[in-house]
Symmetry: C2
Subunit: 288 residues, 2 copies
């Protein structure tokens, strides 16, 4: 029996709890602890840390952990800043001979893998990623961070061809001014680029549902042949999928580290077989 991978979880919100469950369900892993944001990370005894903090706190934690030689996995989800995070972490990881898998969720994450694969299958053409309807965790966290917001829910509504509406339901703090809150949300980088509607409600809890989905479509050209059509659909529990993706990427991080292949990677830079437990022989026989 091979030694199990010791996987710890940092952050205990929706994703942290789901990640813990996925670690426990993995045949080749053992849970090495659950940490909270303000815990001292010097006492971490783990091969891989799943960093399940809000996106804007990710870089601080993964940098500290990588500097200590711990592999990390995060689901950093601000698309325009992913390359910067990868560059910074790549340097830290190479210096400290470790591996960091970044932006490992479903988008960015497994959807990115599907987009890369479809581009290889039909190099010319258009891909549209249509999200929802569903709760965006990143946008919900961003809305909750606005002054005057007691609780929030940001729903993503697909309008087709990759265009989305954001429906932001907010429960205000006592005395908060709705117009001020609305303006702050509309200015936030998470919301500034989409049609966004802010709606005050009495109870966000009464609306919450972590279901989400995607409809990713490509119509493209293979060689000289047009009208090659591809479609990927999901209807999923959002934190459960994100936690599971992080756990599968923890496995890949360990495989890369064992090969001496140090650095930071996004999911399109990982071979899918490295996400899975078992031998190359068994996986090739079962899946190819």
């Amino acid at each position: 029996m091979e030694k199990k991978i010791r996987v710890a979880v940092l952050g205990y919100g929706n994703i942290g709890r789901a990640a813990e469950q996925a670690v426990k369900a993995a045949p080749d892993m053992q849970l090495a602890g659950v940490f909270h944001h303000d815990d001292c990370l010097d006492c971490v005894e783990a091969d891989v840390m799943l960093v399940c903090t809000p996106t804007r706190e990710v870089q601080k934690f993964v940098t500290v952990l990588a500097a200590r030689g711990v592999c990390t996995v995060d689901s950093f989800d601000i698309h325009g800043q992913i390359w910067n995070l990868r560059s910074a972490m790549d340097a830290v990881c190479r210096t400290n001979q470790t591996v960091s898998i970044i932006s490992a969720g479903w988008d960015p994450g497994s959807d990115s893998v599907v987009r890369a694969l479809l581009l290889a299958l039909a190099p010319k053409g258009l891909t549209y990623t249509n999200f929802g309807p569903g709760r965006s965790m990143g946008h919900t966290v961003a809305a909750k961070a606005i002054a005057g917001v007691k609780n929030a829910l940001s729903m993503t509504i697909p309008l087709g061809t990759g265009i989305h509406r954001r429906m932001v339901y907010v429960e205000l703090e006592d005395g908060a001014d709705f117009k001020t809150v609305e303006a702050a949300i509309l200015r936030d980088d998470y919301f500034a680029h989409d049609e966004t509607h802010v709606i005050a409600v009495d109870s966000v809890d009464a609306l919450n549902n972590v279901a989400h989905g995607v409809n990713l479509v490509r119509n493209g050209v293979s060689g000289e042949t047009h009208n090659q059509r591809f479609e990927f659909n999901m209807a999923i529990n959002n934190p459960a999928l994100t936690g599971q993706v992080m756990v599968s990427c923890a496995r890949a991080a360990m495989r890369l580290k064992e090969r001496g292949d140090y650095g930071a990677r996004t999911m399109i830079e990982l071979a899918p077989i490295d996400l899975l437990p078992g031998s190359t022989e068994n996986l090739v026989k079962a899946l190819v």
Copy 2:
């Protein structure tokens, strides 16, 4: 401007012609020749050879080419024999410091990548791969190889939950006995495991259409959360997609060889980014 990858094509049936078109459309490749089965392969001046021969002739050619240090890509499609081919080619490639990508089509091939990814997203559950309706190239070639068959077309009909019917349309040689041909087809390993109907027709050409498709579905469990639903659909020109996949894998073969990462690989063992032209930075920014 980087030096272009010199890619040659061996075999000039449906897939060979499509592969030639995809090489010509690739911005980072140049066509290094089209070879026929009986050409002398000693004169090949190419970085990568796309071996587009019938499946049962693949191993002979890729072995000879790899022994000469040429990278190869094939779309060997007998699922039960893929691991044996990989094992044999892995040894030849490591000895000769080259790379062979095997079973690089859409199934085996890109569908295998989707199956691996979905298993990583929801480790427990069932995946069903439903093919067609469409012409199976592997089965059509197998039927054409039967004595007494002048021309053939094998259609794959999905019956759901991964069960398929084979409709085999045969045009007989003068004097061939239908019952003898039918029995030989039903005994062939390509057909022995599925419900198969053999039908004599006057003209196979009148029926031919290279359209094909897949509906790949998984309902599984992420962590402790059930009912995670995924679906991948394609409606494609079959040889055009196969040729394109082979060309994208030629690029991956060169990347691996340049890194000194020699051996044989199936597509689930490749990082999707290696299938694509361009820098890591540009691809991460565009796709992740």
